[in-house]
């Protein structure tokens, strides 16, 4: 008997705990070899209210068990998203959340208002943690008051689920997590990429045109498990674990460490079937251990 893999993230009922991470799945329309049955939900590429060109190339650099990226949130803007993608999402059998980005709390609110109620859009993931935009991004993620203000601005403009994606570049993630919970977030996503740099020994300068980039991939997994766990200990809303997941065992580390669900990012680049394999692998693990439901997985979540 296949175990019950469904999870509840706030009011949102998902058929499985494995989600597609923002920026690694495009708008879901171009993903090769997509096996929908395994997808709990998708978070679309980060969007701003207005179109953005993104950063100049080179945009990515490989590092040991990881990659740096500085895409710069290239995107078509909210109007094009509503026109070109949302109608397609409306017909899909899994929810799509939009990863929203802005340069001020009020602009976050404006963007949420523009997208609220559009068929096909099931919720929002607030990105307060993008390391690759000059203003905004990380700043909101570092400061509990700013993070709360952004959350409130969005919360005030929509009844849809609001998730907040945290940055790892803080000295105490629990403080930010609690601030965002109090401000009305339905769930936390932990974590976004770490800021990194790689130097080109031919040009004696950074490999990336943006100079720095966000580190993702297996290299960051132990850091991400720790941070997701710390966030989960700090709040009572669900935490979605992200960072370096490429196998069922990796996903299970986050789930045991207190996460309700997980997102898979970079692994999809390497293996287009990664999400399905992670989903199926978690189910097989539960079955082998005799758990009839993911809810029965033992958790390691001491409360302070």
């Amino acid at each position: 008997m296949t175990p019950d893999m469904s999870v509840e993230v706030g009011a949102l009922q998902l058929r499985g705990p494995v989600l597609a991470a923002s920026g690694t799945f495009g708008y879901g329309t171009e993903v090769p070899l997509l096996e929908r049955r395994a997808l709990g939900a998708m978070v679309s590429k980060g969007i701003f209210l207005r179109p953005r060109e993104g950063t100049a190339p080179p945009r990515i650099a490989e590092t040991p068990s990881g990659m740096l990226n500085a895409i710069g949130l290239q995107g078509p803007g909210a109007d094009a998203l509503v026109r070109d993608y949302a109608p397609k999402w409306a017909g899909w059998d899994f929810p799509v959340l939009v990863n929203i980005n802005a340069e001020s709390a009020s602009e976050y609110g404006e963007l949420a208002a523009r997208l609220d109620g559009v068929p096909g859009i099931a919720g929002f993931e607030i990105n307060i943690s993008c390391p690759n935009v000059e203003q905004g991004g990380l700043y909101f993620g570092n400061d509990p008051r700013a993070a709360a203000a952004v959350t409130e601005a969005v919360r005030g403009r929509t009844k849809l689920p609001v998730w907040v994606k945290l940055t790892p570049m803080v000295s105490d993630i629990g403080v930010i997590a609690r601030a965002v919970e109090s401000a009305g977030a339905d769930a936390l996503c932990a974590i976004n990429t770490f800021v990194g740099m790689s130097i080109d020994l031919n040009s004696y300068g950074p490999r990336l045109s943006f100079r720095t980039g966000g580190l993702s991939g297996p290299a960051i997994r132990p850091l991400a498990v720790h941070l997701a766990h710390q966030a989960a200990r700090a709040v009572h809303i669900p935490v979605i674990g992200i960072g370096g997941i490429s196998s069922a065992e990796d996903a299970l580390e986050f789930l045991v460490a207190g996460c309700t669900a997980v997102q898979v990012g970079t692994a999809t680049f390497v293996n287009p079937k990664a999400i399905a394999e992670v989903h199926d692998g978690v189910a097989a693990f539960l079955e082998a251990k005799g758990f009839s439901s993911l809810a029965h997985l033992p958790r390691y979540l001491p409360r302070d």
């Binding site: 190339p57 068990s65 079937k273």
Partner: protein, 252 residues
């Protein structure tokens, strides 16, 4: 697009340090078009897949041509016949061959030979007389496998064919296809704005979802080399903004 676990079926040398690897990948071999590429991964390899143009196809096997320029290519060249490579493809848009083209010139710098055997095949099928101009630093680095109605060589040191670049050695033609270092392609764009060129960028996914392979366009903004490219109308690219010194850029 297919994801196959392809056994290596053969390997041969075609120039100093340059090798062709053959793999059994029927679904890809039977659908690939000239200029398209595959994204290769293998166990204990680097994190990201590595993109390679499809060099030849017989409908069942595909071949890629490569040199060891870094850890990934070094590992690929150390693999034995019978070992498996995970092969994602065919990817990207290839060359376009208008019917009724009478003359075609293929210009390849160094490893830029990679998409040309399929291009030569298709150009001749489209009815064109094919001239292939192949350049390298020196004679022993010229790929020994070229085909067409006319073959021209160019070497930096004049040790074979014309001294100078492949671009300088090229005649004009109705259809100009080029592949090589981005610097060389910029020179092609200068002379033949309508040429079709296959560019190189770093790639994250190869499938259009990461936006890592940005190609700056003359009209502003960026395209994805893996999806809208890797083949472009030469005049469409903002060559000044396209990095031409990728660590893995092949030399002409």
């Amino acid at each position: 697009m297919f994801l196959l676990d392809a056994p290596i079926t053969g390997r041969r040398q075609v120039a100093r340090g340059m090798f062709v690897i053959g793999m059994q990948a029927p679904e890809i071999a039977s659908t690939v078009r000239a200029g398209q590429f595959v994204n290769l991964g293998w166990s204990a390899g680097p994190l990201l897949r590595r993109p390679f143009s499809v060099y030849r196809s017989d409908g069942v096997h595909i071949e890629v041509v490569l040199k060891a320029v870094g850890e990934g290519t070094r590992q690929l060249l150390a693999m034995d016949v019978g070992e498996h490579i995970s092969c994602l493809g065919p990817l990207g848009h290839g060359f376009e061959f208008g019917a009724g083209t009478r003359t075609a010139v293929l210009i390849s710098g160094g490893l830029g030979v990679a998409p040309m055997p399929l291009a030569a095949r298709d150009a001749r099928q489209a009815g064109a007389r094919v001239t292939w101009v192949h350049g390298a630093r020196t004679a022993v680095e010229l790929c020994s496998e070229t085909e067409g109605d006319e073959i021209l060589w160019a070497t930096d040191d004049g040790s074979e064919g014309a001294r100078g670049t492949a671009v300088a050695a090229s005649p004009d033609a109705e259809l100009v296809l080029a592949c090589g270092p981005n610097r060389m392609l910029a020179a092609v764009a200068e002379r033949w704005p309508e040429a079709q060129v296959a560019v190189e960028t770093y790639m994250g996914c190869g499938t259009g979802v990461c936006l890592g392979c940005a190609v700056p366009l003359q009209r502003g903004g960026y395209d994805r080399a893996c999806r809208e490219g890797p083949v472009y109308r030469a005049a469409d690219i903002d060559w000044g903004a396209l990095p031409s010194h990728l660590a893995y850029a092949v030399t002409a």
